[in-house]
């Protein structure tokens, strides 16, 4: 077994891991390793050939591939060590990483700081309780995207899409352009799951119908999908039998949510948050294990890649500070999801952060109009921002610089 030693090891070469590695290099770290299980860097951005990436960061409409390439170039220029086609099998609580690759065999990687950037996976049909048979032709939106955009194959002729998440909406357009008939998009919730701009650009522009408060209840066909049953859901969230109708199709595309991939984190003993399903992190993106940081969708599912990259950079800064100072953290205060807020990231911030920028990310619980997001500490409003609309799928990012130490938890309210 080869043993490698690094200052910082980043697990995952998607947008979060790439940004973290690049930032760590900028901050002067010499020995950085980026470990990626796929053949190339880029993560899921490789299959995102649609545009709309990087609006915040580059003020341009880039494709996912172009966005990734900008960082991949910086990784190469920075001389960062990269191990592709390398799968991390285990992370220990003392920051040892065990990985395998065909070229290197079994590797033990020791690092002074580790950044977890494994991303997320898609929820499957069983997690949304679709009954019926198990034929070919039931795929997640990401799989469909991969088959069409990377493999060059179409997985069906007539599709029903369940879930109005962004990938589902984008694939509705993509499949239409490729000649697959998209019968409609069905969404169990009473409001859109993805970004509004994606509904306009991917459904409305192509005349694809969106059916809210409707779900797929059953799959028909033993070998290949022959049809699906859809039904309206009542106020209790359960399908109403009388409204069931059968739609002939040969492909069911599932865009029903993403789950942070934290199997490595869990086994290492990293504390996970029940709502985000990712590690509990502080304002430097450090997890409950000292020296282990997390960034991107492994922490919580972000809706913009710009935020993912930003979280990678914060984690890199945190990791560098951790290595350089090895100092104990100061007093921490919790962040609290206040009224109408689903969760706030990070879950803890340094109380002695006066003069230092803090980035908070949050999701509202329900769609609202003309609201204020307020950060409150000990009864004092530290920041207040107006929003014309606030929707659960659209993450709110708040940046602020406290002028002195925090003397209590930070509560974020949206009202």
């Amino acid at each position: 077994m080869n043993t490698l030693s690094y200052d910082i090891a980043v697990i995952g070469g998607g947008p979060a891991g790439l940004a973290a590695a690049v930032k760590a290099r900028e901050l002067g770290m010499d020995r950085i390793l980026l470990v990626e299980r796929d053949y190339e860097l880029g993560g899921i951005l490789q299959q995102c050939i649609h545009d709309g990436f990087g609006l915040l960061r580059f003020k341009k409409q880039l494709s996912g591939c172009q966005y990734a390439q900008k960082f991949i170039d910086l990784v190469a220029e920075g001389g960062i060590d990269v191990l592709c086609d390398t799968m991390v099998l285990e992370l220990t609580d003392d920051r040892r990483i065990y990985a395998v690759s065909a070229q290197e065999g079994l590797l033990e990687i020791r690092a002074q700081a580790v950044i977890l950037a494994m991303g997320c996976r898609e929820r499957t049909r069983s997690q949304v309780s679709i009954m019926g048979s198990r034929p070919a032709g039931v795929l997640t939106a990401g799989s469909v995207q991969r088959y069409i955009n990377m493999e060059g194959y179409l997985p069906g002729k007539k599709a029903v899409i369940l879930g109005s998440g962004d990938i589902g909406l984008i694939m509705a357009r993509r499949m239409t352009l490729e000649g697959i008939e998209v019968e409609g998009v069905y969404e169990v919730m009473s409001s859109l799951g993805g970004l509004r701009r994606n509904k306009v650009q991917c459904l409305d522009d192509y005349g694809i119908s969106l059916h809210l408060s409707t779900t797929v209840t059953k799959i028909h066909g033993n070998k290949r999908v022959e049809a699906v049953t859809v039904a309206l859901v009542g106020s209790d969230g359960k399908p109403v039998r009388e409204t069931e109708r059968v739609i002939p199709c040969d492909l069911l595309v599932l865009s029903v949510g993403l789950i942070p991939e934290n199997e490595l984190s869990r086994k290492a003993g990293v504390q996970l948050h029940p709502v985000t399903r990712g590690p509990v992190v502080d304002d430097t993106m450090m997890t409950s294990i000292p020296g282990v940081f997390a960034a991107g969708n492994v922490v919580a599912v972000f809706d913009l890649v710009d935020y993912v990259s930003r979280s990678g950079e914060i984690a890199a800064q945190g990791a560098v500070d951790f290595i350089r100072r090895q100092s104990a953290r100061g007093n921490m205060v919790d962040t609290v999801a206040g009224s109408n807020v689903g969760f706030v990231l990070p879950q803890r911030v340094n109380a002695d952060c006066g003069g230092k920028e803090i980035n908070l990310y949050l999701r509202v619980r329900k769609p609202m109009k003309d609201v204020r997001a307020e950060i409150v500490c000990n009864g004092k409003i530290l920041k207040s921002t107006r929003y014309g609309v606030a929707n659960p799928p659209e993450m709110i990012a708040l940046r602020f610089v406290p002028d002195g130490p925090l003397d209590g938890p930070l509560t974020v309210d949206v009202r």
Partner: protein, 575 residues
Amino acid sequence: MTANKQEILAAFSEGLKKFDLDSSAVSARIEDDGILTLEGSTKTWQTAVDIGHMAAKLPGVHNVVSDLTAPGAVPLKRKDSAPYRAMGVVDKADVVIIGGGVTGCAIARQLTQYRVNILLLEKEEDLCEGSSKANNGMVHSGYDSKPASLKARLNVRGNAQYTKWSQQLGFKFNRTGSFVCGFGEEDRAAIEGLYENGVTNGVPGIEIISGNRAREMEPGLSDSVQFALWTPSAGYAEPYEVTLALAENAVDNGARFRLGCEVVDILTKDGRVQGVVTTQGVIPCDCVINAAGLYADEIAEMAGDRFYSIHPRRGALVIFDKENKGKIRTFSGVAPNNYTKGGGPEETPEGTLLWGPSALEVPDKEDRDVDREDMEFILEKGMRLTKGIDPRSVITYFSGNRAATYSEDFVIQNSRKIKGFIHVAGIQSPGFASAPAIAELVESLYLGQNPDTPINTAFNPIRKPEPAFRDCTQEERDRLIAENPAYGRVVCRCETVTEAEILRAVHGKIPARTMDAVKRRTRAGMGRCQSGFCGSRVLELLAREWKIDPSEVTLKGKGSEILVRPSRNTGRNAE
């Protein structure tokens, strides 16, 4: 026969009254050998099944052939065999075994102890595609079979043989024992009844214990369990692993397998088997062993010797995320109330929490749906029996059909009409547990007809399984990768399956041609993402290794292609 035919038919008419039927709706006739045949139609399939069971219980009735129809019922299907006969002879064998489930493969392996040319035919494109696949893998101890039934005898004997089987064949087997739980005095009689049954059937170590003692053994058991029937001999194996192990060892010892080969007719002459007609052509043989599971009655009909009907009883199974490993080790069930009790929570040898199966009579053998009712039944039962398990960690569910006869017993015997035809039918629960003993019984039936069969002196009962990367130590992994770098490429991240293992499956003794075949051999795609990530990689490997276009790769055989056609921009013969 003890009762004469008139008495039996009278008793049947009497029994029919309960069903609130027009007497013209159902007719019955009985043969000298006690085979009762039913014709007519009923309003619901469940009524048709209930009538079948009622008839089978009448004194003097040996078995029931039911041609009763009801909405949704699918009559026996016979393909026109003429085009296949026209294909001519494509192969020949001494013994043709029909059906590549655990029973057929066990028989194939058993008979390779003799110098006979054995050919196993399976209509699907892989083994273990029918009832065996959707089995919960329980090796029952034998308390629930009716004393003196064939099931009772073969179950207890088969169970005892599993340790040796697993050692010889190298499959995982955990003899953890099982509980049938009582929640109050109302369950006492049923559990004592099972205890008596078990004692009569010779189940070793059977006892009724307190709820507290049961929880000492199985801390995950619900606090509301008050007492339990404990049978230490019950165990668990992975049915697809066992089936494949048997098949591979059979191949090692000279048996041959044809997959995607459906039998459409049995050739007989002067009351003797002459051969079979298959969708691949005609195969002459001297002996046909009918291990066709759900289709055993249809194969028997082809031989002109149908004296039982298979009525499919659907069972759904629910699989949980491996993060639940260790929460439950031992199977637990509840006191039964009908023909089948259905199953309860258990941990498979792989460390997967599995709940079910449910039990529902369905009119269509191909009905493998999972309905909300199945899920509710399974989850409710599981939650009642266990504690500390989050039902939201379910990663998949599926169903299959038990091949039940109306007599609810195995039918393992020589045909009384056709020499050389052996029935191995009605193999439902506890068929998996009984498989070793079923194979022995079939061996003795075969030798009874062919007493001079020479011994295969080269027979080797040992099959050494290839290492599973996920089970290896770091040192073993290092060594494997050094020998074969493809072990260093993890394709299925959830189950840690490497490219080397997938290539091994594709080029194995029973080559994997479908995505599901790869899954059964390697676990690729069985994990929490359910092939979301590795699906496209496995597909790519199958296309590469079989030198076919990716659009030809199937999930489970023809008609289940994953991809429809190349996209228009690839330049590859788009539509």
